[in-house]
């Protein structure tokens, strides 16, 4: 039987295809960085600062260097001869930041020296044997106090610890002059408002906690002058570019590989000091070296997320029409700017328009250095913060006006016929249709029923609340004008002999399931079985070009590049097919892919199998005039804009009157991410995102004491959400495709973390509203809730 006689192939786009990557992952057959073992490989351990702020007076490495099995001990100052300050990916001014501190330490966990040893145990013991003396300086912990004139400062040249200050307001920024337009309109809007709510809110610091910590193996081959770096990263191509630059090599001398990566959540976008150090020390000691982060290091040194303090004012008319927003935001970015640090809080202001028509906005942002771990992207990266501030404030206005939280949102929505919609902040929302999404969420949740259930529970003396949030977010990061690394994505599609397909993508999945969704797309495109397709990623030696996976871009940008490359490969297959059908005088334009054949549309009898055409392409006798043999095509896709998915989340919580413990009873999420390739994977992305968003609302917080010592540096104190803490999520969706890419897909990786957090806090505030509570800071710690029940007010 040939494929031509085989069964019709079902279309796979839109189907709940199970993830092809899961069997190897859950059976322990996958290769992570720590599984890589090279002959002669040595191991690194870092001596790290145990104080938050101080000048290094002396480092005594003699005992460590004398230990058996120790190859090399090197301090930051010595290493600076081999590695310069680390590059960042934002245009903001930044202080020098060396991979290993050279003269001063600025957070607990900052490396001060490195050991290279025969095994990990020796390396760790030797690191412990290094003696460091510091002249301690006062720790800068509170970002507001950090800006006072009498505060200690972290970096020379950054007065009052201020890294970045930005301001825009009034009716927006004048695109010609890039200056804020006259913002007297903001003051006028607030003066004329019927109601103004003002609230200080903290969007607290979080630890990303990927299941797999960071890790790197570097192998520099002297003679060949070629470096290979395996790293648990979200973007091997950026790693290649930056490591090459730091090592004084060309990109052609570096291969970067992200093998299986066990989660990133944004914290594996940054290229870290340990990656550069591994590369440099491999060249220095002429052997491959490995470093695997332990969990304590992950808490102390992997970038943290969020930590934005917002002073938010929202003005409205008595009918609920929102008339103005003022946001003064202070971002505690920690001790240094790493790859995207300074950019993340700028997204907050950009997205604070939310789904509403906001006539006037004033936005002030100050990013402040403190003696804490540097921050960078964490799932949602800037958007959860902005949407949290906005959605809390909108809820407060609704409460002031005694309006239904759904109706105040409906009243202020950007109407469907105003898309594309230009926001006050200068973004253009590609597409949107908010009301049907709200209506669907209200229906799925049975909103009126929920309110009745809450009231009945209250009548019994229980403390129950419901909450709602409506978000819009930005996905599909590009275009190149706004992404410092370039905002495109690349893909290659090769039709192999026998009609099998190998595709490469510069997106570098680490849990997103692209091996499945991309294969679904190709299966439909070529009308061949899923099993005949392999998706390769994560290796710059295999994937020619790429940017990586972050900002919910892999489907919208990477998927679009894939389809573009597939289109080119398909065209060539059709040309070869037509050449095989010379007797029938078929033109390539008449041909379609159908059930493993290439056939004249509507005439299956005039066809060749996909496999025989592929075989012909590689042994093209005769070679059709003007054609090259083989079918291997590639494409870059540059999006013209971002995509703006949106959604409505609804929740119900109950608070224990005696203890203040909060239980999440229900969570309903209706998300609109445009066209859906695989609903199972989209649901999975939403589930994970919800767990993390709820984690922020209820459980998680990185805490430092007044000396800058981390208090939550292990899972014994850092509260992660667990399955038993979460209700069975009720998910649904509406579909508003994007015009920005041919797939109509927008992106969904971060949606869950954006809608759920304000939704849960809104429900908690609703629960405690009878006690006079108007705002609750995250996380919803039992003691905090207990105090509010007993004392009322705010926390």
């Amino acid at each position: 039987m040939t494929i031509a006689d085989g069964p019709a192939l079902p279309k796979l786009i839109g189907e709940r295809v199970k993830r092809r990557e899961d069997p190897r992952l859950i059976q322990g057959q996958a290769t992570y960085v720590d599984d890589i073992k090279l002959p002669g490989m040595l191991h690194l351990a870092f001596k790290r600062s145990d104080i938050a702020h101080g000048v290094i007076r002396s480092i005594d490495t003699s005992a460590a260097a004398a230990m058996e099995g120790v190859e090399l001990v090197i301090t930051g100052a010595e290493l600076a001869e081999h590695l310069g300050p680390m590059p960042i990916g934002t245009p903001f001014p930044a202080p020098d930041h060396f991979s290993v501190a050279t003269d001063k330490v600025r957070y607990v966990g900052e490396p001060v020296a490195v050991v290279v040893a025969e095994d990990r145990y020796i390396a760790r013991d030797a690191a412990d044997a290094i003696e460091v003396e510091y002249d301690e300086l006062p720790a800068v912990v509170d970002p507001e106090a950090a800006m006072e004139a009498d505060s200690a400062t972290l970096h020379e040249g950054f007065e009052r610890n201020i890294a970045v200050e930005s301001y825009w307001g009034g009716t927006g920024v004048n695109p010609e002059t890039a200056q804020p337009e006259d913002d007297s309109a903001v003051d006028a809007a607030f003066a004329e408002a019927d109601v103004v709510v003002s609230q200080r809110m903290l969007n607290q610091r979080l630890a990303p906690n990927a299941m797999e910590p960071r890790g790197v193996v570097a192998q520099y081959e002297p003679g060949r002058e070629y470096l290979t770096v395996w790293s648990a990263t979200q973007n091997p191509h950026i790693l290649r570019t930056l490591v090459a630059a730091m090592m004084g090599l060309g990109e052609h001398q570096v291969r970067a590989v992200a093998p299986e990566v066990g989660g990133g959540f944004g914290c594996k976008i940054n290229i870290y000091g340990e990656e550069y150090v591994a590369a440099a020390l491999s060249r220095l000691v002429k052997a491959p070296v490995k470093w695997i982060e332990d969990r304590t290091e992950a808490f102390l040194t992997t970038t943290h997320g969020r930590d934005l303090l917002g002073y938010i004012d929202l003005a409205a008319k008595s009918d609920g029409t929102i008339t103005g927003l003022k946001a003064r935001i202070i971002a505690d970015i920690g001790a240094y700017e790493v790859l995207l640090t300074a950019m993340i809080p700028t997204l907050t202001g950009l997205m604070m328009n939310g789904v509403y028509r906001l006539p006037v906005v004033r936005h002030e942002l100050t990013e402040v250095f403190t003696n804490k771990t540097p921050t960078d992207a964490y799932r949602g990266a800037g958007r959860p913060e902005g949407l949290y501030f906005l959605e809390r404030a909108v809820d407060m206005v609704a409460r002031e006006l005694d309006m239904d939280p759904a109706e105040i949102r409906r009243k202020n929505f950007v109407p469907a016929d105003e898309f594309p919609f230009a926001t006050q902040s200068g973004l253009v929302y590609d597409s949107g249709n908010y009301e049907p999404c709200l209506d669907k969420a209200l229906e799925v949740a049975d909103w009126q029923g929920l309110l009745a259930e809450r009231d009945a529970a209250r009548a019994e003396g229980r403390i129950v609340g419901v909450g709602l949030s409506f978000y819009v977010e930005v996905c599909g990061l590009g275009p190149s004008a706004v992404v410092p690394t370039g905002g495109w994505e690349h893909s290659g599609v090769t039709v192999e002999r026998g009609g099998k397909v190998t595709a490469t993508t510069g997106a570098s999945p680490h849990g997103q399931g692209n091996e499945t969704t991309f294969a679904q797309m190709l299966a439909d495109h070529f009308s061949i079985p899923l099993e005949d397709i392999t998706i390769l990623h994560g290796d710059t030696g295999v994937v020619k070009q790429g940017i990586g996976t972050f900002g919910s871009r892999s489907q919208a940008v990477g998927g679009a590049a894939l389809i573009s490359a597939a289109g080119k490969a398909g065209d060539k297959m059709k040309q070869f097919a037509a050449a095989l059908m010379t007797d029938q005088e078929v033109s390539p334009e008449d041909l379609v892919f159908e059930d493993g054949r290439i056939q004249v549309e509507g005439a299956p009898e005039v066809s060749k199998t996909f496999a025989e055409v592929a075989d012909y392409a590689y042994v093209p006798v005769p070679l059709p005039p003007g054609m090259e043999p083989g079918v291997s095509e590639e494409a870059f896709f540059e999006p013209e804009n971002n995509t703006y998915p949106f959604g409505c989340h609804i929740s119900m919580v109950e608070v224990d009157r005696d203890t203040g413990e909060t239980k999440l009873l229900k969570l309903i999420a209706v998300d609109d991410c445009g066209n859906v390739i695989n609903p199972l994977i989209v649901d999975g992305q939403v589930h994970g995102g919800l767990a993390q968003g709820i984690g922020q609302a209820m459980f998680e917080e990185v805490v430092y004491d007044e000396d800058g010592q981390p208090v939550t540096a292990s899972f014994m104190d850092y509260v992660m959400p667990r399955a038993a803490d979460l209700p069975v999520f009720e998910l649904d969706r509406t579909v508003t495709p994007t015009p920005i890419n041919p797939l109509g897909a927008k992106g969904v990786g971060e949606a869950g973390t954006i809608g759920s957090t304000p939704c849960v806090v809104n429900a908690a505030v609703d629960a405690l509203a009878p006690f006079g509570v108007t705002h609750i800071e995250m996380p919803l710690r039992p003691e905090r809730m207990w105090r509010l029940i007993n004392e009322g007010g705010q926390s």
Binding site: Y121, R295, T296, M716, E783, R787
Partner: protein
């Protein structure tokens, strides 16, 4: 997360473990389930040179009842205790408490002997043992010694156990009308505050009671004020008033990120009430 170098010996008997302990001196540490000791070693908060594994010793295993007295071997895991039909029937507080320790991995490895010897201020079983007036059996070079639970727990991570002694087991009188209630520290699942109440009931009236708290203070201890208030109280209605002062009577109260002193005192009363109500509801 990498411990310092250590030697590992698996003891073939309690006698061998005892002699290894003596040989090893202050460098030596017993290893049972390892779920308190090994995390400390990974953080380099403990750096023993010799680990003597007693986890699998038959002499330290078993759950038996004899004339109303129940004995549990030190090496019994939390999971085994939770699954014991004997305990479920005759001392359900013990099985239930064990069932709510940590997570499944912790329960599969952690042992009652290790929990009592380690005496984490938030450990659950110490309060239960104090409430049940359990006797803790110890074996040392000079033979056996028995200590009442309330005397055994002395301070934070401090118990009446010499460096060369082994906890071999615990025993206590069967008791159905006892219950444990805890407020979990949300990250570790240890008790932020946990209260165990063991009641002698005469119909709806409490004739006498033993009530003990863990988590709130440096170590598990009796709440004698509550015990006094319970004598003669009618239950469950009298539980709240008997428990009301529970927290105020503690002279030292822990304080951390997860709960202030004030909160822990208040929660001591709440969980004392809950434990008493649950115990009274049992017949």
């Amino acid at each position: 997360m990498i411990p310092t170098a250590f030697e590992y010996r698996r003891a073939g008997s309690v006698a061998e473990a005892l002699s290894l302990l003596q040989e090893g001196g202050p460098e030596a540490k017993l290893l049972a389930g390892g779920h308190s000791l090994i995390p400390m070693m990974k953080q380099r908060l403990a750096e023993p040179g010799l680990l003597i594994d007693i986890g699998g010793l038959d002499e330290l295993r078993g759950i038996q009842e004899d004339g109303g007295e129940i004995a549990i071997g030190a090496a019994m895991t939390h999971a085994e205790i939770a699954a014991s039909d004997l305990l479920r029937a005759q001392a359900p507080i013990v099985a239930e408490t064990a069932a709510n320790i940590g997570d499944a991995q912790v329960r599969n490895r952690g042992t009652i002997g290790g929990s009592l010897a380690h005496a984490d201020p938030g450990a659950d079983l110490p309060a239960v043992m104090v409430a049940l007036d359990a006797t803790i059996a110890l074996l040392g070079p000079n033979g056996e010694r028995k200590v009442q639970a309330e005397d055994f727990f002395q301070d934070i991570l401090t118990v009446d156990l010499a460096e060369d002694e082994i906890v071999t087991g615990v025993c206590f009188q069967a008791c159905r009308s006892a219950a444990y209630a805890k407020l979990e520290q949300r990250a570790s699942k240890f008790a932020l505050v946990g209260v165990a109440a063991a009641l002698s009931l005469d119909g709806g009236t409490c004739s006498s009671a033993r009530v003990a708290v863990t988590g709130a203070s440096s170590h598990a201890q009796r709440l004698s004020g509550v015990e006094g208030a319970l004598a003669g109280a009618s239950l469950p209605d009298g539980a709240a008033s008997a428990a009301s002062g529970a927290g105020d009577a503690l002279d030292f109260v822990n304080e951390d990120l997860h709960g202030s002193e004030e909160y822990r005192r208040a929660m001591t009363a709440v969980f004392a009430r809950r434990a008493i109500e649950a115990a009274a509801g049992r017949s």
